[in-house]
Symmetry: C3
Subunit: 363 residues, 3 copies
């Protein structure tokens, strides 16, 4: 169960730089490519000629060309041409709304006529020269909601990431969670603690002492369909914590875009945006490498958890206060999923009514 | 859906030189071995003692011996012996008609009493000293008919094999297709073209200039159950094309025997027979290596196409004029499949009738 | 179909030395660990918090701690604690009776209240200083009964283990099989034979001539649920065979504990116990290496046999006199499986009756 009338991150520009990219999203096999004028398009990954995946093809003069027999496609899913054939009567394939923004390609897997680029989640840090971003992509065999749970309850850092960002004070500090409209925010503040290795390095990277008591914060924000953006940081103790001035803290935004592939697998786009030393590319690379290693530690756990839940479908699991972030996120998702189903039903009914009226008028 | 009362290529002699070979053909697991007097036999790959695969056994004194407990088999599927046991009452296993001819082992997976070796496709080139042959085997996860389609529409060469045998003139020349009895022939002739790399090399290999305008031809012949033999070649332009004298052309026969393993996998025996420099073994090896590389380019495409078609079972695909070869081949196959089903039904009915008559006579 | 109210070997102490071990036994995923006071426990491998496998966790102060969010478990399946949470109301998970004895961890996958450690198969050799033991573990994709068949009919040695322990005299000597209560014994005695390579080495290892005629014996003992202990040995001919004095023979016990993982896969604990040179650790290592190689030869055959039987479910296989050991073992198993099913049914009925009586008394 995933929302379809919404924008998901589909891929990054480097993935379509050389050739088309085949990727399954929300159960649909799609091909992404950069065509005429550099515009990105998304089509069904199914050539109307013989069913070959278009993603095995190539781009020629801005057109996607099937790699089997050379049928050429337009970005709207109609056939553009084929040597020796008139393609006007060829069946079309589905085209998905796709937008390139903030350094990502976004796709709308639902009803195309509802797709509004203005609804793409605004990312301040992606447009400002004061910020730098680095990230990566993991393919994980788990329900996308297990990854939302993971990110909305950072007590797991103490166990899964013990050597980098985990520390006992995380689980000793109760989180506070609230839902505001479609957004869920779960916050945790720790005071007078020792910065764990990752953050000690970040303080040094920012030219600050790393061996003094610090305040630390984690503010996780879930927004539909499955984005989790987390404000994280440490400040020298007594300087105001989260509100401390820039010269007393190291802070950043953990970026998580979770795109369902199937009911039990995801494309997980992870990264970190920071507003200190934004032009230090070496620092960006170092942080990305460290974050990639840390975030990779979750993979085995999530896949093993998924296997256990799949094998025990009727089994209840606990919802503790630390799980509130994930629980409230699911409440938002369930509400939106119900709304999407209702909307779809009413559209079907309306079109049936229109057809009946038309038939009556004609009869 | 595959024909069963017909001859398929099962394996090549080198595959059974050292030990028995287990291979699934048309859904049936078989063991092939060379027994008494060097004669090749095919049996069910199932030891009547404890169900172990006989293909894990060995040959002793011309008998196939199970590698688990030593039951010895006769080529007709009866048990030949077992130390310390009287095997007369042992159940038999199925024996499949098998014939070694033309450098291949042929098997008949259907009703044994209908098997007639005279119906094995005659291969002129396999018996003549004027011809040389080299080939190989690929295991591919696709319906055998997708491979027939592939070989009966060579426009794919322009895309899949762009760097070796592909060229724009192929798709620019409309093919002509006709069905003659059970055979389907699709032909394409190109005139005054530049020989593509593979053929330029063949011209040089035959001592001919490779930089002059050429005529090129491709005559694909499908015969049941799934053989595709393709006459291909180039001649210096104006020398008569396909009918040019031997000293002005380089030509050969592309050999394709497609043996279904399951509904969605095949054993693909490919090769090339040529009637120039037949004793040049180095040339045979060079051609085989080149052809193996080229034909290997189809594998990913066919398997990806199969996956797309499996996931979209109801979906129609196009049948263009270039697809006529495959389409007409399927018409032949469907006709023969229906005939085989009818024949089977009438045999069942006849045997039921005989049983009733016998019962009445006895009653 | 496997017995559940019985003791199986689950693992060896080295497998839980560093961290918890996740292992599926009789279809149930379990975690084994050494906790407080070094006592071994077995729990469901399912954290009651979020369903993560506990086997990905660690041991802290004798408690099993989930590696995801730190829930701590007691050996009885109740929750021991979690930072910031009161765990009294947390649901428990299943605890399995587990006992460490004879160098193995034994587990009882059935009704815990029926588990009696006294019913663990007594292993004389595991407690006596006159004996040494070495062994290993294989994971094999076959029904556990196929492995019982394998071990209760050693004629396969002639074929599968031809270069080490096989010899023609095995299959030439008819075995004798009998059932005594729940035990099945199949014996084979060979006289005046040449010791095969493995036994020639054992004679030399025991300081005896290896090039003189020998008597050889194999006495296979099946006991439920799936233990096969085999007395094997050779003696210089004419010294009394199986009853020969220690200085004229080399003998040992082949140890086979077969633990079902699923209906078609097993954990196979194999080894050899010997009562000569028990303190020669180099000899133990040499024998283990040799036995491991020999026993590894069965794997492919058993998995291929399983595949053949799975594909041909209705097919009958033969039960010859050499198969009596396996056949009689299955008779014992079937009787015990029926008894276990009847016992379970009567317990269900009794508890339903008690509930009715209670309701009537309350009503």
């Amino acid at each position: 169960m995933f929302l379809k009338n919404t924008w998901y991150v589909a891929c990054t520009p480097d993935e379509i730089a050389e050739k088309p990219l085949g990727r399954q999203i929300c159960g649909e096999r799609m091909v992404f490519y950069r065509g005429q004028d550099g515009k990105v398009s998304a089509l069904e990954d199914f050539c109307p000629h013989r069913g070959a995946p278009l993603s095995l093809g190539f781009i020629d003069k801005g057109e996607l060309v099937c790699g089997y027999h050379g049928l050429r496609m337009n970005p709207d899913g109609t056939c553009a041409g084929m040597t020796g054939q008139r393609v006007r009567a060829f069946p079309s394939i589905r085209s998905y709304p796709a937008v390139e923004r903030y350094g990502f390609i976004w796709v709308w897997p639902g009803d195309a006529e509802l797709a509004d680029p203005a609804r793409i989640h605004h990312l301040e840090w992606a447009e400002s020269p004061d910020w730098a971003y680095g990230g990566g992509l993991y393919h994980i065999h788990c329900d996308y909601r297990l990854m939302i749970d993971n990110l909305m309850d950072l007590t797991h850092e103490t166990y899964v990431h013990a050597s980098s960002i985990g520390q006992a004070e995380i689980e000793e500090s109760a989180p506070s969670t609230k839902t505001i409209g479609d957004e869920v925010v779960t916050s945790r503040h720790m005071e007078n603690i020792k910065a764990p290795p990752f953050w000690a390095a970040a303080l040094r990277g920012n030219g600050l002492a790393d061996d003094v008591p610090c305040d630390r914060w984690q503010i996780c924000r879930f927004t539909p369909p499955s984005h989790v953006l987390i404000e994280v940081g440490v400040a020298h103790a007594g300087k105001g914590g989260y509100h401390a001035p820039a010269e007393s803290k190291a802070s950043s935004i953990v970026v998580d875009f979770i795109t369902p592939e199937t009911e039990t697998s995801i494309w997980y786009f992870w990264g970190m945006a920071r507003n200190f030393k934004p032009n230090d590319e070496q620092l960006t690379a170092t942080i990305r490498e460290g974050q990639g290693k840390i975030f990779g530690e979750d993979l085995d756990m999530l896949e093993a958890q998924q296997r256990n839940l799949t094998e025990n479908p009727g089994r209840k699991i606990l919802k503790l206060n630390i799980d509130s972030g994930g629980v409230q996120s699911r409440v938002v998702l369930d509400r939106l999923l119900a709304a999407e189903a209702a909307e779809r039903a009413s559209r079907v009914a309306a079109s049936a009514e229109a057809a009946t009226a038309q038939a009556a008028a004609a009869g």
